[in-house]
């Protein structure tokens, strides 16, 4: 599809590098615009879902064209409000770092999407070590939090940053180990190959979440901790340290932190779907799907399955927040170091045995 566009541009007499640049930018837009829209509407979904869980209605006034439309206009209104608010820089703050911190937190959250595949051929950059790339890029995100906390010149912000740094570094280990299990199972560190490794005759029984069940759970919980979401949100725990690292931020700078957090949530959810739930693969065995174009489109492999799985995980994020009380800080550390890391290490050994034993239907191909 993009070749057509590129050829068209070349036909217009553009320089080849400019044509490539335009096409690449187009591709990036194609990922980023839906992503940012999802982020906006995820905030809406959060308020709605938690509202319903708490037997409230949630936002239901701001709509379009003078109609309430269940409050669908709320995210847009929020965004406009935040954009026009004044950015206040606290006295004694490190101005440069204070302003760059939101960018440091947002940029990795977006850059990681470069290698996420949405379908067997739908990926921006199909690099060989894409899983490692995602891990590396997301690990940079913590700088935004730390720098924000330090540059604010505020005790609460600093405490939040310290908590967050220790927590993220701790859970990154468990998360990394969980992903090591996945790449052992798939024999590849390319996310596309990992998804393809989960294909097979049994549909959802072929996915890795069954043999790697403990890793799957640990990955997702670590993901919740990595994004500083409830019940691991001690970095911003409003009852203890007001709002943690972003207590001094207002207006658009605050909004950028907010965007980064939600973009990371979506990223973690989509990665969980790709690694453990077969990505864009259909949960139904291919033999069950009637040979009709319409059925094939709806039930066969496709991006809609990936989006549905991602949505499921995102729902979990919201559900956790509505359900669990916040963990105490030492409990978070204990869970990460003394529970998750040992379990992942033991399970890596088990996975190794599975692979050596050629356990069907996951590991018999190789």
């Amino acid at each position: 599809m993009f070749e057509i566009v590129e050829n068209f541009l070349l036909g217009l007499g553009l320089w080849p590098w400019l044509a490539t640049l335009v096409v690449t930018l187009l591709q990036i837009m194609l990922v980023m615009v839906p992503l940012l829209l999802s982020v906006a509407y995820l905030t809406y979904a959060e308020r709605k879902v938690i509202g319903f869980m708490q037997i409230r209605i949630g936002p239901n006034r701001v709509g379009f064209f003078g109609k309430p439309l269940w409050g669908l206009g709320q995210p847009i209104a929020d965004a406009v409000k935040l954009m026009f608010k004044e950015i206040i820089i606290p006295g004694g703050a490190d101005k440069f770092l204070f302003l760059i911190a939101p960018v440091l937190s947002m940029a990795p959250a977006l850059a990681a999407w470069a290698v996420v595949p949405f379908g067997s051929e739908m990926v921006l950059a199909d690099i060989d070590a894409s899983l490692l790339y995602v891990l590396a890029i997301t690990s940079i995100g913590v700088y935004g939090v730390i720098i924000a906390g330090w540059a604010s010149n505020s005790k609460y912000a600093f405490l939040g940053a310290m908590r967050s740094a220790a927590q993220i570094v701790s859970y990154e280990i468990a998360m990394g180990f969980a992903l090591v299990g996945v790449l052992m199972a798939a024999g590849s560190i390319n996310i596309g190959d990992i998804v393809r490794g989960q294909g097979g005759a049994y549909g959802l029984l072929n996915w890795y979440f069954i043999p790697l069940f403990p890793l799957f759970i640990i990955y997702f919980i670590s993901g919740v901790a990595e994004t500083n979401r409830a019940p691991f949100d001690v970095a911003e725990g409003e009852s203890e340290i007001v709002a943690g690292f972003h207590v001094e931020y207002s207006g658009m700078t605050f909004a950028v932190f907010f965007l980064a957090e939600y973009a990371n949530m979506i990223l973690i959810s989509m990665l969980a779907a790709l690694m453990f739930l077969g990505g864009w693969l259909s949960p139904l065995p291919a033999s069950w799907i009637p040979e009709l174009a319409l059925f094939d489109l709806a039930l066969g492999d496709g991006i809609h399955w990936l989006l549905a799985k991602t949505a499921l995980f995102l729902f979990f994020f919201l559900w956790f927040r509505a359900t669990f009380p916040r963990y105490r800080y030492d409990q978070i550390m204990r869970l990460g170091w003394k529970v998750f890391i040992p379990i992942t290490i033991v399970w890596l050994l088990v996975v190794g045995l599975f692979i050596m034993g050629g356990l069907a239907p996951w590991f018999d191909a190789a």
């Binding site: 070590a129 891990l135 590396a136 940079i140 700088y143 730390i146 740094a165 570094v169 560190i189």
Partner: protein, 201 residues
């Protein structure tokens, strides 16, 4: 100049400038951030060498973990910079001589005489399906398995040493005993006492 060359000089320039900034900026947090920048640009240089595994691992390990902990410590410490800089002018001549010598030696060592294209021909570009990671893994687990295993022992020793030097149980510290909490039963904590109800007087 080819595109790769432009990128190379760009990243190298940023690398050298940020490395210089690490030691000259006044604020330790800024210095740490410049060091992060150094690592990121080094990683970019490695990418230009088609060593994507090393490049990504550099970011993952150094930027993502080591420097975070480093920054953590730097922020917690109240470093008196004025005192640290006291001898700067005094040591500058000696330091300058040492630095100049080191640069000179390095120039001699990695210069054109030893590493020119006529001595070491440019490595052939790899095919698109060449996996740097797989090659590295195979080398590490075959040819270099012995040093690789020793490296793991070195890391183990580092863990043991770090724990041995920092873990100290002070008397009077209260700990949460998770296993005791978990096995507790209702009967351990709760006693239902039958009380005589007192009639209204």
């Amino acid at each position: 100049m080819s595109f790769e060359q432009i990128l190379f000089y760009l990243f190298s320039g940023v690398l050298v400038l940020s490395a210089g900034a690490v030691i000259t900026v006044r604020n330790p947090v800024h210095a740490a951030m410049f060091l992060v920048l150094c690592f990121v640009t080094t990683s970019a240089l490695w990418l230009l060498l088609e060593a994507e595994f090393l490049a990504i691992t550099l970011v993952l390990v150094y930027v993502g973990a080591v420097m975070v902990l480093f920054l953590f410590v730097v922020m917690m410490l109240d470093i008196n910079l004025a005192r640290m800089r006291e001898g700067f002018a005094r040591y500058l001549p000696i330091g300058g001589i040492v630095a100049a010598t080191a640069v000179g030696i390095m120039g001699l060592a990695v210069g054109r005489i030893n590493f020119g294209l006529d001595v070491w021909p440019a490595p052939p570009a790899r095919a698109a399906d060449y996996s740097n990671t797989r090659e590295l893994g195979e080398q590490l687990y075959t040819t270099y398995v012995y040093p690789f295993e020793i490296a793991s022992v070195v890391l183990l020793v580092a863990i043991v040493a770090a724990i041995a030097l920092t873990l100290r149980t002070r008397p009077g510290t209260r700990y949460q005993k998770i296993e005791e909490q978990v096995v507790v039963k209702k009967s351990d904590r709760l006693r239902v006492v039958q009380l005589e109800s007192e009639g209204r007087k």
